[in-house]
Each structure stands twice: as structure tokens, then as C-alpha cells.
Symmetry: C2
Subunit: 122 residues, 2 copies
């Protein structure tokens, strides 16, 4: 059984092209870990919402969801707004646990990849 | 001579902690390529501005600056607003070339690092 699932959660933007890299990240996760259901969700402008993404994973039988903020850093959204959205989404599914982790950009691997990119294009 | 320099350009946020990962990226670039002057700049909320960062690299003798958007994706800011800021900063230094590249999040390496992070925390 696929007990664990991932929601990649992004800020969102008016330009639908903005979602492209997040969709590519989801595709890489699906390719590398086919047994881990993965979805994307957005805080504003784009859909699905976090509620919609969590509902979909719950319907797929997931028991624990990790909400991975695809944000460059911790800031007001992740400290104040997103925990409320996560709590709201979790409240719709009492049997589910939903955990928000640190912004992806805070990780050493992403920091190094950003440095790689900058050195490669300069 | 250090002819090339890098400005890591981010959106900015009200929370000063938000700048932490960008400063870590700059430190990694400085460690890996000590001859490449590197600065950070922000579109809003945080300083320095792009003008200030470009002025500083120009004063350090840099002749070509690559503005690396530390954004997750291409969107309205990078398509419309930032090119104007880059042109404005460049116009202050006629001897300098200033080039804006694609959002870092569009690169394969950053996409893979984001997938690594998500799989590692799920």
C-alpha cells in the first residue's frame, strides 16, 4: 500500500507557465519513486488548491501526506499562512496526517544546485 | 582580472530571514569561484536593490554581470518587470554588459535537487 504521499506546494503566479518547473519536479518524483503518489498545489492564482490536492491523495488511499513548500526560503507565508491551509486540509480527513516541512530552498542540496546553475551561466 | 560577476536576484519578502538561502548560495559561489565577484539583490522589501548591487560590482572592476534570477520559474516578473530593472541598472554603466538569464528553477539541476529534497523528507 502507498501509505505516504507528497504535495509540492508553491506560491503560484498569474502566468500559467510558472507551474512548469513544479510539474517537472512532480514528474521526477513519480519516475524515481513510482509508489509514492505526488501532487502539486498552489497558494494563489493557479490550481489545484491544497484542499483539492490533499483530497485527491486521500481518495487514492494515502495515509500520510508531506506538504513540501517549493519556496526559496522560509518567510511569512510559510510561517503564518500555509500552516493554516495545512490544518484546514487535514481537518477534512481525520484519518490522515499532514505534515508541512521546511521550504525546499533551505536545503543544502537546493542551495548547491542554485550555485551550480549560477556558475554555469556566468 | 575579474571581468565577470554574478548578481543573484530574488523577489524579496517582508521577513528578513527570507534572504538566508540566497546569501548561502552567494557564499557557495564565492567559495567555489573566488575570482568571481558575487552579490545579491532584491526586487522588493529587502535590500540591496539591483542598481545598488550592479553599482558595487562595477566599482569592483567587473565588466560583465550575469543577473541570475533566484526564482522558481519564469513568470510575469521575469518576463516584464525585471528586464526593465536590468536595463535601468545597465544604463548607469555604459561600459558594462548586464545579462539576465532564465529563472534558476527552470534548470534541470535545480529541478532534480527539489525532487531529491521532497523524496528525502517524505
Amino acid at each position: 500500500m502507498a501509505a505516504k504521499g507528497i504535495v509540492l506546494f508553491g506560491h503560484g503566479a498569474r502566468d500559467p507557465e510558472w507551474a512548469g518547473p513544479m510539474k517537472r519536479v512532480a514528474a521526477r518524483i513519480a519516475a524515481r519513486s513510482p509508489d509514492t503518489p505526488v501532487g502539486v498545489a498552489f497558494m494563489e492564482f493557479l490550481t489545484p488548491t491544497l484542499n483539492e490536492a490533499v483530497d485527491a491523495l486521500a481518495a487514492a488511499g494515502v495515509e500520510h501526506i508531506t506538504v513540501v513548500p517549493v519556496f526559496l526560503a522560509q518567510g511569512g507565508h510559510l510561517k503564518r499562512d500555509v500552516p493554516l491551509l495545512v490544518a484546514e486540509a487535514a481537518a477534512r480527513h481525520p484519518a490522515l496526517t499532514v505534515t508541512q516541512v521546511l521550504a525546499a530552498g533551505e536545503s543544502d542540496g537546493v542551495v548547491e544546485a542554485l550555485a551550480d546553475y549560477a556558475l554555469g551561466v556566468a
